[in-house]
Every structure is written in C-alpha cells, then in structure tokens.
C-alpha cells in the first residue's frame, strides 16, 4: 500500500512535471499561432489596400455614354453627324475632324508614368446601315488606336487586369432622312498604373 502511494506520488510528480512542460510548449505554440494569424491578417490587408481602386470600367462606361449622347439624342442623330446632299451621305466634317471638341472631351492626363507620350483613352463609333453587316458605312475615332487589339482579348480575371478596359455599346438611331443606323461605340480606358497592380 505504501509502495503504491509512493509510486502514486512519484507518478503525480511526473505528471506535474510534464504538465509544466506542456504549458510552456502550449505558450510557444500559442505565439506561433498568433504570429501565423498576424501574418494572415497582414497579407489580407496588404492584398486589399495594396491594390488601387479600379475605376476603369466605370470610366469607360461614362465615356461611351457621353459619346452616344454627343451623336444621338432621343433616337435621332444630332444635326451635322451625317450630312445628306443629293443622295450622297457623308460624315459631318466637324465630327470627323474634331470629335473631341464636338463631344467636349479632353484626353489630357496627369504627367505621370509617361502618360503624356501615350494617350490613355480611345473612342470609336461605327455606323452600320444593314443589321448584321460587319462593314460600317461611316467611322469616327479618336485616341489611342493601338489598344483596339486588347478589346478582343479583354476578359475578366487576374491575367487580364493590367490590360486597358474596353466597353462596347450598340444602339439604333434615325438620320435626318429617317434612315436607320446601328451605331457601335467602343470606348477604351488605359490608366493601368493607377488602377491595377
């Protein structure tokens, strides 16, 4: 019986010793977990706040709307967009030569990232007479034409984030001679450095 108690005490002692050791190990693990949690939170915060706010889609949509308003109002082409004389139709010279001025657009940007040497916008409007036709009868455009190629591969996802953003709009409008036109507007906004990382 005595032996058992001694053994029991010894056993208790061993447990106690182990428990103290375990406590220390737990506290080390605890700090390791804290560091892991902190690292995780830091990474999440960095990912969230480290990326700039991407407003290019909104900007491209506003630009497309603005050009649509500039060309047509209430379903009719604005005066001077397409001129008809003796059965010959042509684009109005003012729109053809000065689209930015007629639509009150200014493509100047801040002088950062070498943007002063590369226009950060593109706007194009194609006029189709027949539905389904792939050849426009008239075309207007202004800005950086080099970015048009990106519109064909402009898709959602991480890999495409650093490409300029494209927006395409289509609408019908009547000309002065009541001819119906399908107008396709493409607007592109670059400004990648300030909107994507």
């Amino acid at each position: 019986m005595e032996l058992m108690i001694v053994t029991g005490l010894k056993f208790q002692g061993i447990i106690k010793m182990n428990k103290r050791g375990t406590d220390k190990i737990i506290s080390v693990y605890w700090f390791a977990i804290l560091i892991l949690v902190a690292g995780g939170i830091y990474a999440m915060v960095y990912l969230f706040y480290g990326h700039p706010l991407d407003v290019r889609d909104v900007e491209a949509n506003i630009l497309a709307n603005k050009v649509a308003d500039c060309l047509s109002k209430q379903g009719r082409l604005n005066s001077g967009v397409i001129i008809s004389s003796e059965d010959v139709k042509s684009l109005g010279k003012e729109y053809e030569n000065n689209l930015l001025g007629k639509c009150h657009l200014n493509f100047n940007t801040e002088k950062e990232y070498d943007w002063e040497n590369e226009i950060q916008y593109y706007i194009g409007a194609d006029f189709y007479v027949q539905v389904g036709s792939d050849k426009p009868v008239f075309s207007l455009s202004e800005g950086n034409k080099n970015w048009l190629k990106y519109c064909e591969i402009n898709r959602e996802g991480e890999d495409y984030r650093r490409l300029p953003r494209c927006v395409e709009r289509r609408f019908y409008s009547l000309g002065e001679d009541n001819a119906q036109y399908l107008i396709k507007i493409i607007s592109i906004v670059g400004k990648t450095e300030k909107n994507a990382k």
């Binding site: 506290s27 605890w30 700090f31 804290l34 902190a38 939170i41 830091y42 915060v45 706040y49 700039p52 706010l53 407003v55 909104v58 900007e59 506003i62 630009l63 709307n65 603005k66 003012e94 000065n98 930015l100 001025g101 007629k102 009150h104 657009l105 200014n106 493509f107 100047n108 940007t109 801040e110 950062e112 916008y121 300030k194």
Partner: protein, 137 residues
Amino acid sequence: MKKKGTILAENIMFIILNLVFITILMLFLLKQGSGAIVIEQSYAKQIALLIDSGQPGMEIILNMETAKKVAEKNGIDFGEVVNVNENIVTVKITSKSGYSYSFFNDVKLDNLYPVDKDKDGIDDSYRIKISGYNKNE
C-alpha cells in the same frame, strides 16, 4: 510561495504579451483602414468620375467627412484638400502625400469650396459646380 510567484509572473507576462500583440494588430488594421493614401485615392477618383458624368449647370455636393478628419489631424486646412488644375483633380490630406486623377469631360468648374450640407455647423462636404463647357468646338 516562490514557486507560485514565478507561475504568476509567467502568466502575467503571457497575458501582457497577448495584449501587446492584439493592440499592435488592432492599430495596424485601424491605420490601414483610415490610411491617407487610400482616402486620397478614393476621393480623387470619385470626384473625377462625378465630373465626367456631370453636365453644365450641375452642382455636386460630396460628403468628405472622413477626409476632413484625417486632414485636420495632419494640420491641413480642409479648404485646401481638393484642387482642380485644368482637368486634373488632386486630393491632399497630409503634408507629404497627395493623389491626382484626370477627368475627360472638358468642362469649366467654379471654384471648389467646403460647404455645410447637413446644416450641423460643420463644413464637411465639398461643392463642385460645373459652370459650362470649355470652348474647343
């Protein structure tokens, strides 16, 4: 007695280190959430987009309470937080930083200034008035 004291000191150290850790984490999150760079960027882009979608005659009142708080903390007069030079909006709420973003709408703006939108005696909003188009036709 000595042994117990040691355990207590260890526990106190453990609790203090935990508290220090949590405090640092909270401060980091708060600092990131109210970071001047994020606020400047957000307001500069918002203002540029508002101007882009605006038309002559429009008056836009933008609540900039957050920017005002940070600007005043950094000793910047709220009346100098937003500046428009040609077609570039700059928001600056610290003496070192500042964020600029351009807008494409070729409009003339009246001078931008703070207004009291909520009628609570605090000028924490900005008035942006589009007066007309620039003559480039």
